[in-house]
Symmetry: C2
Subunit: 298 residues, 2 copies
Amino acid sequence: MEFSQLRYFEAVARLGNVTKAAHEQHIAQPSMSKALQALEQEVGVQLFDRVGRGVELSDAGALLLPYARRVLAEIQAARQALQARADLTVGHVSLGVTPTVGTRLIPQALATFNRRYQGIQLELHEAGASELVELLNAGVVDLAIVSALVHGVESTTLLSEPLVVVVSQQHRFAQRQSVLASELRDEGFIVFPQGYELRNYTLQLCEQAGFAPRIVLDGGEMDTVVSLVAAGLGVAVVPQLAIDQRIGLHALAIADGGLQRTLRLIRHSQRQPSPAAAALYRVLHEWVSQHYAQASIG
Amino acid sequence: MEFSQLRYFEAVARLGNVTKAAHEQHIAQPSMSKALQALEQEVGVQLFDRVGRGVELSDAGALLLPYARRVLAEIQAARQALQARADLTVGHVSLGVTPTVGTRLIPQALATFNRRYQGIQLELHEAGASELVELLNAGVVDLAIVSALVHGVESTTLLSEPLVVVVSQQHRFAQRQSVLASELRDEGFIVFPQGYELRNYTLQLCEQAGFAPRIVLDGGEMDTVVSLVAAGLGVAVVPQLAIDQRIGLHALAIADGGLQRTLRLIRHSQRQPSPAAAALYRVLHEWVSQHYAQASIG
DNA sequence: TATAAATCATAGTCTGAGGCTATCAATTAT
DNA sequence: ATAATTGATAGCCTCAGACTATGATTTATA
């Protein structure tokens, strides 16, 4: 039972005429006759009664017809669904991010994406970098933004943002524009939890300056950390962009070291991105290049 | 998009493995690979991601899969429906009869049929012989029982029943076993309506005996006619079988003439009977041969 | 880390399903 | 009667879809 046979069968049943159906289906009349015979042979019953000149649907044909129509409708629906997916009028894309990435980039870029592709459903997964790679390999997320260098996946640099030392506006360095890492030897540090890249960056900065940081508070998300800094509890190393919109804080460039956090957009190297995932990929790069032209290294 | 392609696609999606799916579908592995590629080419998207050793359903594949499964289910359902029809576990058959036929034959024969083929729906159409032929040609009824000879359709003799003159038990002939047609010259006749074969038989009998019958009452179905005869209103010519179960009546054989009414089972000569129609055909003949062996001429 | 096993893709061959044209047979309209 | 319409048959041809053999790549294992 081939699809062409069902299509031909439906045409003959609808038109009640082999010749006309053959024309409609763009085949020769004998081919149509043969196709019907083949279908009848396969299902083992006569589908049409050859009555006089002309044919008409038999009892069995009338039984088969609705099934045939449903099959043809399903196939058409499948084609349309795939087409809609390619046209980006429907779809789904899942983005993974590490927790500190979201602050400004994600909401605005996703809002842009959503305005442009109304029918595509967005999904956001927040997790650590290594877990994101697992989600990517498992196919749970299509793309992910991480700050660490990861292996085994295809990655592009989304943007590089400078890391700054942030202090309260009452702090002794509050009037300065930059510090040397070594000047932070006596400061109390507020650091991100285990596993966060920003924690590693911080520890690395101190180590290179030749001291082990005195940790005032360990753990806490971005919001908490910057609030604690504003309250004068200590200093912290954060991305420049994370404090753009905050008041009561002062950012100090790090004169030596010049640390930067690089956000990478990663995707599965072997999996073909869906049209929706490819679109999100484009929108993210586009949004960054328009809003962070100065920060993006490319 | 061929049926086999969807079947293969579903197998690979289910098993996540081209080789195993090829085994299951009884084709060689390269044939499976090629079939998948052909399907992907046709729909214009990748349906599987070839990730490492093994394949897994892509975004587009996941979209297509439910459609494919519905198509396969519909085709299976269609096959089962046709099979059930052939097995006589489901079906439909429509029988046409002329009004005076029904009295004993139809109810009992149809009851037998229904006991044997529980799933098959019966439909009964009562109409005149010429209308029944039209219904037969239009495919509304599968079979019909008529008493007249009709042309252009395939007919078999179901049974021949003798026509008798029926009188009331108070009638002057009530003690006799038979009469000559000419003896009925002075009787009042109750006749069936225009178009009924029994009316024609009656008039024909009188004409051959050399007189025109005096018609007391014209029109009326079988029940009415025999009731009127029992009430002494007149005589009538009816089939022997029609009055078997009645009291207050006396039947007289017609010594000369010896008229018989032949019931014929007709079907369309070009249309292939459905299994249900063929079964009803068999049951009717079978029932007649078992219950009217003496009456059936064959 | 080298070797074996597993898995999918490619190359090349062959057969038959399904297309075509030409024509016949049967029915219906003129 | 004659012409037109319609479906079936015969005979031919092409390519889709099957096969075997083999290659390339990844993963498991000694």
